[in-house]
């Protein structure tokens, strides 16, 4: 069953046109260039929806988060990964929250005291868990499948499809703000127009500088630069033997098409609008003739560790890129790096409170200390999502609608974790398990819901009716179904894809 929604024919024509013309420099450039600071779609009046992919690298186990099991519910409480009843709260609707206190995270001398309930109480109305059984326990393969639905639709990624649907005419419809994971995998459908594919921004704080060819460079005079470009393009290039020989080279055509859009890119003043950094010794903006984004202070307040914590910087930039009309989808993720501040710490001298930002190998630190790692990393995901939601809610899109009204935060993860533990062990190491679920947040979803359920005796999740959402114990949800459900919810045209419709997910 496919989504019955159709895109206006004019829009399809434009897309088809862009596909066909993607090799043509002018059309390619036109498709790459930002027309203004707002979403600009001259020929498609359907307003965009936005997708933020917040990758939970390493295996975020839903039974250590919104589907936690109480000990009294399980016949095998001593060996299944379940929590003491007092530490599991039903925070909102079907959604549960874990409280976990530990003096250290495995061998890392860092005390944690985490309660997920406050997040779920505040944001759970827009939160949904979709149980799933995936197909790989290899990190890279599984991450990729979490965004392609196990190559459900010609190997296209969710981000590419959202960019394809809503991103034509934008400067950078599909931005990858994280590196080092396969949540930013490139899809395998080469027939998509170039603008649909993701582009990596490795350093969200310095990247805005590259949205302008000269501002911030000592001695640069913009009039002179404009004259130089004209001289280069109109005279020197034409006189060049290199051009005579290689003008037909595909890479050179693309390059020139990108360059043709430079001035419009610059006119959008993204070097200011995306400048998250604050004036200071590390970023002497005034000396360079630059200034921070007008909303930067508010964004920094939500992500106060943005200079030290890559995930916060990514999230802050994702917000700016979406609300400044640059992107319709942004991918961010917790890295596998150990991020901490202060002294390294030791058994005698623990790491300072709040000093650890990211665990080594992220959720996969569960191999060493399952519960502490899951608690710490879930809290990290929730906190990041919460800050993003707050910012998006506070920013008007149009007509009284906020950006959040049109957005989804999808938290893909590699896989689940093994469900058993040594008898009565309060913490333990876990392995990889295909059985798990995905968390997502959006006002467009039926919030406060768990689609499917969990068998408390085994810790294994089970599926649901795609039509009604009713739990079905004999069923498991596939990556393809989750993929289709997300696209349906975001209004992406899936006609002809063969993807299942999942009305149970969307409002």
């Amino acid at each position: 069953m496919t989504n019955s929604k159709t895109t206006p024919s004019l829009s399809l024509s434009r897309r088809d046109l862009l596909r066909g013309a993607s090799a043509t420099a002018g059309a390619y450039a036109a498709s790459q260039v930002l027309g203004g600071s707002r979403i600009a779609r001259a020929d498609d009046k359907r307003p965009p929806k936005f997708l933020i992919v917040l990758g939970a690298s390493g295996g975020a186990s839903v039974i250590d988060g919104p589907m936690a099991i109480r000990a009294t519910e399980s016949k095998n409480a001593r060996t299944v990964n379940c929590y003491e009843d007092a530490n599991v709260t039903t925070a909102l609707g079907d959604l549960r929250a874990v409280k976990h206190v530990a003096p250290s995270v495995g061998p890392i001398p860092y005390a944690i005291d985490i309660d997920q309930a406050s997040f779920i109480r505040k944001y759970g109305v827009d939160m949904q868990v979709v149980t799933a059984t995936t197909t790989s326990v290899n990190h890279s393969v599984a991450q990729r499948r979490s965004v392609t639905g196990n190559e459900a639709w010609r190997g296209r990624t969710l981000q590419e499809l959202v960019a394809l649907e809503y991103g034509s005419g934008l400067a950078l419809p599909n931005v990858h703000l994280s590196t080092g994971s396969e949540f930013t995998a490139r899809g395998t459908d080469g027939s998509l127009p170039a603008y649909a594919f993701g582009e990596t921004i490795a350093d969200p704080l310095l990247w805005p500088l590259s949205t302008h060819g000269s501002r911030g460079i000592a001695g640069a005079n913009q009039d002179m630069v404009a004259r130089a470009r004209t001289l280069r393009d109109d005279k020197l290039r034409k006189a060049s033997q290199f051009s005579r020989i290689f003008d037909g080279a595909p890479n050179l055509k693309k390059w020139r098409a990108l360059r043709a859009g430079q001035e419009q890119f610059e006119k959008a003043d993204l070097i200011t609008k995306l400048m998250l950094a604050a004036e200071g010794d590390a970023y002497p903006l005034r000396n360079a003739g630059l200034s921070e984004a007008p909303v930067a202070a508010g964004v920094r307040a939500k992500f106060p560790n943005f200079e030290r914590d890559p995930l916060e910087a990514q999230a802050a930039m994702a917000f700016l890129m979406i609300t400044q009309g640059v992107s319709v989808t942004a991918t961010i993720s917790a890295s596998f790096g150990f991020v901490y501040t202060g002294k390294p710490g030791s058994a005698d001298e623990p790491l300072e409170a709040g000093g650890v930002k990211n665990l080594p190998i992220a959720f996969d630190f569960s191999h060493t200390s399952h519960r502490a790692a899951q608690a710490f990393m879930w809290e990290r995901m929730y906190r990041t999502a919460g800050s993003l939601i707050d910012l998006l809610k506070a920013t008007e899109y149009a007509g009284g609608e906020s950006y959040w009204d049109r957005a989804m935060i999808y938290i893909p993860t590699d896989f689940g974790r093994t469900k058993v533990r040594p008898e009565d062990a309060p913490d333990f190491g876990s392995g990889h398990d295909l059985n798990n679920g995905f968390v997502m947040l959006s006002p467009m979803l039926k919030g406060g819901r768990v689609l499917g359920g969990v068998d408390p005796d085994s810790g294994m999740t089970y599926g649901f009716s795609l039509a009604t959402g009713a739990p079905e114990k004999g069923r498991t949800t596939s990556e393809k179904e989750v993929f289709g459900g997300i696209l349906n919810t975001l209004g992406v045209t899936t006609t002809g894809s063969g993807l299942p419709d999942v009305p149970a997910m969307r409002r």
Partner: protein
């Protein structure tokens, strides 16, 4: 043989004369290096009379190289562009471009944008095969910054000027502008400018048209500054010629 060699080399060098970083830098440096009242002396630009045999070589007419059938070009990447700029402009690589005066452009600030890898912190193990929307800007920032650095140095000490010496402390003249233009071509693109290019440049800088043709110098170092380079260089099939070309390149 010498003419053939010269043409072979010129062709090879001409392959590098892209209209990108080199040409942009050429254009910006040219325009930026045209102050009102600068004078100065600098080493003469190589001309036809400076050939080793004393025999003026024929003027470089339009080359007969056909358009590339496949046109397989590869982006040079930030590190090589920086190295080329540093070499051409006699700068330390670390002085070519620093954002905010702090962050090396090719090595840090725009490393991934310029096709770099960073395995240790970012776990970027493979360079992107596609250029991004901001790559052209990043290349221009490198070129502009390098140009500014060279100008600062040249105008601070006329005696040590490397590129703009004729313009330091004197009003620009046809001869001085021509000399600077020719030197820029030589340094940045690794070849002499053609008449057509000098004329194009002169019009844009309000320089009177030059009537005399420039000819390739006797030696040229391959310091082309372009973000693109051919993946494979065409080499001669003549073993003697090929050997001579290789020897000449080692000079």
């Amino acid at each position: 043989v010498s003419h053939k060699l010269l043409n072979t080399y010129a062709w090879s060098a001409n392959l590098k004369s892209a209209g990108s970083a080199g040409a942009f830098l050429l254009a910006t440096c040219s325009l930026a290096g045209c102050p009102d009242d600068k004078t100065g002396a600098i080493a003469p630009v190589p001309t036809a009379t400076a050939t080793p045999t004393g025999t003026p070589p024929p003027p470089p007419g339009p080359l007969q190289t056909p358009a590339a059938k496949n046109g397989r070009l590869k982006f040079k990447g930030g590190d090589r562009i920086t190295a080329d700029l540093a070499s051409a402009l006699a700068l330390e690589p670390s002085a070519v471009c620093k954002e905010f005066g702090l962050y090396d452009c090719a090595g840090l600030a725009h490393k991934i944008t310029l096709g770099g890898v960073e395995p240790y912190n970012l776990t970027v193990y493979q360079a992107s095969t596609e250029r991004g929307v901001s790559t052209a800007n990043a290349v221009e920032r490198l070129a502009l910054s390098a140009c500014h650095m060279r100008m600062e140095k040249d105008f601070a000490d006329k005696g040590k000027a490397k590129l703009f010496g004729e313009l330091v402390g004197a009003a620009p003249s046809e001869a001085s502008l021509s000399a600077v233009a020719s030197r820029l071509y030589l340094k940045l693109l690794g070849r002499a400018a053609t008449t057509e290019e000098i004329q194009a440049w002169s019009v844009s800088t309000q320089m009177p048209k030059l009537r005399q043709r420039r000819t390739p110098p006797k030696t040229m170092q391959p310091t082309a500054v372009s973000p693109w380079r051919p993946r494979k260089r065409r080499s001669s099939t003549d073993p003697v010629e090929r050997s001579l070309v290789q020897r000449l390149r080692k000079l």
